[in-house]
Symmetry: C2
Subunit: 334 residues, 2 copies
């Protein structure tokens, strides 16, 4: 592995080109304009090899997922991302090819999402690689999407489709029997490369469409729990209305018990949000404009707790952690 | 070790109290106001156990040094810090007492430096603890101190005293023979707990006193090299004018060869900066106002490279990396 200085110069400095506040990564700090009437949105995510990704995972995909997970947090607040910091702790035996792959993946997604590398830190460790991204965005001060804004009577919506990420992980772990090859590939791809819903988040914030939002990372039921608790409300989720992809449908057709994986598995990075009933038409139009499914899947009401209802309105019994945790843990039930 | 959720709730959420943009650490992202006509200064530093600190180091001091190293980078740009993110990768066997100590140290320095915890990430690792702080500050847009602002004829100044950090590390490693006990304690303390020069940095930026600045972390000679290269100039450093503490003087009296440790050792976190000759009186006054030594230790001129001169003007021969690196490495000599 090359020395820190060479790694930065060779692989990272090009990622900072054109971003004057990054000072070519020759500075210990970076600057960016504050921006009048704007709030800065900031989020950080850390991935550890062996915990969040595997040594054999393609490094470019690791880099892209790392960045996208943070961008998804920016999207959930309605922010427009502009830059990020990268901190890397690497063991001396880590191959330079791996680092080059990581940088290649970051470069690709930088251009997809119009963000630049502003700075970071590169150090050595005796343990597995630890990667942190801190991402920055801007949002008009009075338009930030928060987790506590839902009101009783609000509709509940989710973007895209739910469950692919969790099913994709099962595919990659060889834990999903008899899934057709093409469907398995689609699901694995969604797990490895989530799609941050930046355009949607910005449109929801700027148009004043949503009252509250979160990105679905812990699982649909658990993240709905976050919104319900944040607002001090009860929420119901209509399982039959939850959008699933064709690939997930193929899995569910053969193994209906995986409905629970879909509802609680997480790693979806779709936006879950609430809106007034009067916004229904606007949201249909927005979905058309953005060419992205937006599904109405439940509602908020006075009370507390999350109810998951089947198509006939009967409560569904779920046993997986996202749900059980929320039901039984006194810390989470307030 | 308690679960991530409990660690955050018990030890970290109190550090975010009173900072509304941190959302009680219940959000995946934080917000802060952009600030009209202000730039945001951001910097990140990562410490790895076994590399940057030792398992037996008091965890509160580890936390405080982690934060202070980042605050020193903010100081070098003239910024006023207001918050930080903390990312922690911990092995399952790490004691909760250790984490509590880390949080205690952070709490103490938060109140010293008026900053708040805005967010972060807590994950597990199979390797040693890896800690990252990303610190934020603000500085008027047109007053940011940069590394490339020196002009030929500028005076060179440094704050406080130089060499204590590097000598303190030798004391802690038992590599400094015959140092009196009190002096050894003072030096070790300076290594363990650097003092970010925030007031000075802000005064230099706001008063327009300095043309360029850097904090001394790599070593006085190496960091002067950064300023000289940044400006495309030569610099001379007058070794006899470099301020040393009484404790360092005691070491140098017995072991004059440690002058090289002082000049190249690093970990000083003092500010090294340039100013016009016409600012000499103002800087004497500023030193009095801040009750802090500011020493004139050299100057910039046309040309390239750093010359270290002894009291009679003869060049000093230094062999340690900071210096040799700069002289011999073609990448660094442009």
């Amino acid at each position: 592995m090359a020395a820190e200085f060479d790694l930065i110069e060779t692989y990272l400095a090009p990622l900072a080109a054109g971003h004057s506040g990054a000072f070519g990564l020759k500075n210990d700090a970076a600057i960016f304009p504050g921006g009048r009437d704007k709030s800065v949105v900031v989020t950080t995510d850390t991935l550890v090899q062996g915990v969040h990704f595997l040594p054999e995972d393609p490094p470019d995909l690791v880099g892209r997922k790392l960045l996208r997970v943070s961008l998804s947090d920016i999207a959930a607040m309605g922010g427009k991302p502009f830059g990020y910091l990268l901190s890397v702790a690497l063991p001396p035996e880590q191959g330079e090819t791996w680092f080059a792959g990581l940088a290649r993946g970051l470069a690709e997604d930088q251009s997809t999402f119009h963000v630049g590398l502003l700075g970071g830190d590169t150090v050595s460790t005796s343990g597995p690689p630890v990667l942190s991204v801190t991402a920055f965005g801007r949002v008009p001060e009075d338009r930030v999407l928060r987790r506590n804004g839902a009101r009783a009577g609000d509709d509940l919506y989710v973007s895209g489709s739910i469950g692919d990420g969790a099913l994709g992980l099962l595919v990659l772990q060889d834990r999903l029997a008899e899934v057709p090859e093409a469907a398995g590939r689609d699901l694995a791809e969604r797990y490895r490369l989530p799609q941050p819903r930046l355009e949607l988040g910005q449109a929801l914030a700027e148009g004043g469409f949503a009252r509250t939002a979160i990105d679905v990372s812990d699982g649909l039921v658990a993240d709905l729990g976050h919104l319900a608790r944040g607002a001090g409300l009860a929420a119901e989720l209509w399982a039959a209305e939850v959008p699933v992809s064709p690939a997930a449908l193929e899995v569910l057709a053969k193994a209906p018990e995986h409905l629970e994986t879909v509802l609680t598995g997480g790693d979806d990075y779709e936006l879950l949000f609430s809106a007034r009933e009067s916004q229904r038409e606007s949201l249909v139009e927005l979905a058309q404009q953005l060419d992205m499914p937006i599904s109405r899947i439940g509602r908020f009401s006075k009370g507390e707790g999350v109810s998951v209802l089947s198509h006939d309105g009967a409560p569904l019994q779920l046993s997986r952690s996202g749900w059980v945790h929320f039901q039984n843990d006194p810390k989470n039930s307030k």
